[in-house]
Amino acid sequence: AQSVAQPEDQVNVAEGNPLTVKCTYSVSGNPYLFWYVQYPNRGLQFLLKYITGDNLVKGSYGFEAEFNKSQTSFHLKKPSALVSDSALYFCAVSARTDSWGKLQFGAGTQVVVTP
């Protein structure tokens, strides 16, 4: 069975400072890893995913994430946070052996960026 842990319920950061949202996972075999963002009263928007290759993945809105196989982590990062980055962020994992592409989501991390 696969699982995802997002150890922080909330991350607070000042605008202009680096932003990191942590994610660790457990899955049989190699994973596919995803980050989604949810703005208030909206559905989830895809940010980026890791499939294979370069461990550093670049995505939308200046976000990137680094896949670390030895630490089973896939932390989301942004060099300089904006107030508009305030939202709920979800990490998700899919097992490569899953034919249907089912995702297991973490509980989510609320990001608050203050001016």
Binding site: S94, A95, W100
Partner: protein, 115 residues
């Protein structure tokens, strides 16, 4: 752009009522998914469908059923709504094919309240 629409943004129903939540996607996606989102629990998969009239149970199917009569439409049915089904319901679809790396695209969600 992929568009996934859900029939209602907000819905209020009474205990025991039969509830239909509708989801439509416009990109000829094979796979469609229904999730519920609860604070602190992230997204949990209720049911998914990989083709017309084909469905599979997710992690929490109890109290729910689904219908997929046309490729673009996937309905979630609460046979007899209960207060513990008060939640945000999210529909998603993924690119054609059965690969675990496919990105899921989400609708805006339906916030259901059962009184």
């Amino acid at each position: 752009d992929v568009k996934v629409t859900q029939s209602s943004r907000y819905l209020v129903k009474r205990t025991g009522e039969k509830v239909f939540l509708e989801c439509v996607q416009d990109m000829d996606h094979e796979n469609m998914f229904w999730y519920r989102q609860d604070p602190g629990l992230g997204l949990r998969l209720i049911y998914f469908s990989y083709d017309v009239k084909m469905k599979e149970k997710g992690d929490i199917p109890e109290g729910y059923s689904v219908s997929r009569e046309k490729k673009e439409r996937f309905s979630l049915i609460l046979e007899s709504a209960s207060t513990n089904q008060t939640s945000m319901y999210l529909c998603a679809s993924s690119l054609p094919g059965l690969a675990a790396s496919d990105t899921q695209y989400f609708g805006p969600g339906t916030r259901l309240t059962v009184l």
